[in-house]
């Protein structure tokens, strides 16, 4: 098996397990608490506003927004790690059919594995740090993924014969 295929298959299987383990951890220890935070903060905001306490109501809405920000990203991380892992394994099985020399395929495989791990990781990082670094990392990793995916699609299109 070529190095590029090995990288994609092993990277993909590791990423599947990472994505599912993260999902299991999240469902057990975080999801219910986060959902409760979202609802309780919003309900408190409405209740306080009904009592004309507008400043505390705004604070409650900020807590709601923060919890929802976290929830959206945590679910995204789980689904993107798992979904990208499936693609990596799939490409790994037929990567010899991509019509590039092996060193280019190895580079593309490395870029896809790195992008597939880093993009969701950067999104997860945003729940701890809302500065520019996690956003920039997510953007770079997503660009890496899209460019390498496009290159692989072109490579498949250029392939004429099936290789084993």
């Amino acid at each position: 098996m070529s190095q590029s295929r090995r990288l994609l298959i092993v990277g993909g299987l590791l990423l599947v397990i990472l994505g599912m383990t993260y999902g299991l951890y999240y469902a057990l220890f975080d999801e219910h608490q986060t959902l409760e935070n979202i609802t309780v903060s919003l309900a408190r905001g409405f209740s306080l506003a009904a009592g004309k306490e507008l400043e505390p109501a705004r604070t409650a809405l900020d807590a709601y927004a923060a919890a929802k920000f976290e929830y959206v990203r945590e679910v995204d991380v789980h689904s993107h790690w798992s979904g990208l892992a499936l693609l990596l394994i799939l490409f790994g099985i037929i990567f010899d059919q991509v019509a590039y020399p092996e060193h280019v395929r190895r580079f593309l495989a490395g870029a896809m594995v790195a992008g597939s791990f880093l993009f969701p990781a950067a999104v997860l990082l945003q729940t701890f740090d809302q500065g520019i670094f996690p956003k920039a990392l997510a953007a770079v990793a997503a660009a890496l993924l899209i460019v390498s995916l496009a290159a692989v699609a072109v490579g498949f299109a250029r392939a004429k014969d099936s290789q084993g």
């Binding site: 098996m1 090995r6 298959i9 092993v10 299987l13 590791l14 599947v16 397990i17 599912m20 383990t21 999902g23 299991l24 469902a27 057990l28 219910h32 608490q33 409760e36 609802t39 919003l42 309900a43 905001g45 409405f46 209740s47 306080l48 506003a49 009904a50 009592g51 507008l54 109501a57 809405l61 900020d62 709601y64 927004a65 929802k68 920000f69 959206v72 689904s79 798992s82 979904g83 499936l86 693609l87 394994i89 799939l90 099985i93 037929i94 997510a138 953007a139 997503a142 660009a143 993924l145 899209i146 995916l149 496009a150 692989v152 699609a153 498949f156 299109a157 014969d161 099936s162 084993g164």
Partner: protein, 368 residues
């Protein structure tokens, strides 16, 4: 008709009672079940549930205007609390997504099997373990809304959630064991079992599914990048801003502004939902098309019918996400067309499943 040359090789690649047959038939079955569930959910639950969320949000805002704190809180808890409207929606979406993704993973594991250095009986038992987990998790997630916290030993997690997590654990264990088998294979340097390696055929249907699948996945990621870059943060800011306007206007007795904010909030939720649904479906269908390109050698149908099902699947895969996005402009008409797109994918997948079952029956009838 199909590519496998000799009956012995064909039986080796798709053995009766074997792990691969279980994973391929089970995988397509899971995907079909998930898609049919998704269509039923979209037609009978999704829009009705969104309408009820809007009604309770408006009622909550009215309660704020009347100074009735208890009623305002009760309406919000009815939307987002345990057993609430968002739990009804969320658990059904999770059921739909997990059945389908486990179906994809089952098909993928069937393709990886030749690289797994484990005895055949172990591979088969792992496949059974995987399928049990893959069925248990979505069924239990579906039940979360109905079972709630009844008889639960925990304060916020019910029995349905606990059993769903157990299902997830079974899937992780089976997948990790297959990974260990791949690792053993790589360390031994034996390579794959050639007779079992599946590659896409050079048929029209396989090539169309490969090329179409790759394009769909690429389009899905481009759309995701566009959404994240242009709309995501803007939508999040508007979400909380509209809630502020609702509460401040209602508290000030300005019912018109509060009502307008409730309407805008509903429209915003719809806008977010269609973008996320389009992104998820186009990538999901692309992945499905790529996977099915490998399964074509096992579809025992004439080339003409294999072409028809591949074309139908790709057409549905484009129609659904495009018309989901158009719901923003065309409303329920576009939603109806999107549902037809989903139906086309289901019909095509059923056609291919029939072909795989015919292939299995034909092999079992051959004495080798």
């Amino acid at each position: 008709m199909h590519a496998t040359a000799s009956p012995v090789a064909a039986t080796r690649a798709f053995p009766a009672q074997g792990a691969r047959r279980l994973l391929i038939l089970g995988g397509i079955g899971l995907i079909l079940a998930g898609m049919i569930f998704g269509d039923i959910f979209a037609v009978f639950v999704l829009h009705q549930n969104a309408g009820r969320v809007g009604e309770h949000l408006q009622a909550g805002v009215d309660a704020v205007a009347e100074g009735n704190a208890a009623a305002a809180e009760a309406h919000i808890l009815f939307i987002g609390g345990p057993g609430g409207l968002l739990e009804n929606r969320g658990t059904k979406v999770d059921t739909h997504v997990h059945i389908i993704v486990f179906g994809y993973l089952a098909l993928l594991l069937a393709l990886v099997l030749p690289y797994v250095a484990l005895p055949d009986p172990v591979k088969k038992h792992l496949a059974i373990l995987f399928m049990v987990g893959a069925a248990l998790l979505p069924v239990c997630v579906f039940l979360i809304y109905y079972v709630g916290l009844a008889y639960s030993p925990l304060t916020s997690i019910g029995w349905a959630s606990i059993l769903a997590d157990l299902g997830g654990l079974l899937v992780i264990v089976a997948t990790a064991a297959y990974l260990a088998g791949v690792w053993r294979n790589l360390r031994s340097g034996r390579g794959a079992l050639k007779a079992e390696v599946l590659l896409p055929e050079q048929s029209w249907s396989s090539r169309a599914l490969l090329a179409g699948g790759a394009l769909l996945v690429l389009a899905g990621y481009l759309h995701g990048a566009y959404y994240a870059g242009v709309h995501l943060y803007q939508h999040e800011a508007r979400d909380v801003q509209l809630l502020r306007t609702m509460l401040e206007s209602a508290a000030a007795g300005n019912a018109a502004d509060a009502g307008a904010a409730v309407s805008s909030y509903g429209a915003l939720q719809g806008e977010k939902a269609v973008h996320i649904a389009a992104h998820a479906h186009i990538i999901g269908f692309g992945t499905l098309a790529l996977l099915l390109a490998f399964v074509q050698p096992f579809v025992f149908l004439s080339d003409l019918w294999k072409r028809r099902w591949a074309a139908t699947l790709l057409a549905g895969s484009v129609i659904l996400p495009v018309f989901v996005l158009l719901e923003l402009k065309w409303g329920l008409v576009a939603g109806g067309i999107a549902d037809v797109g989903g139906l086309l994918v289901i019909v095509a997948l059923t056609g291919m499943l029939v072909g795989v079952l015919r292939h299995a029956g034909r092999l079992d009838a051959i004495k080798v």
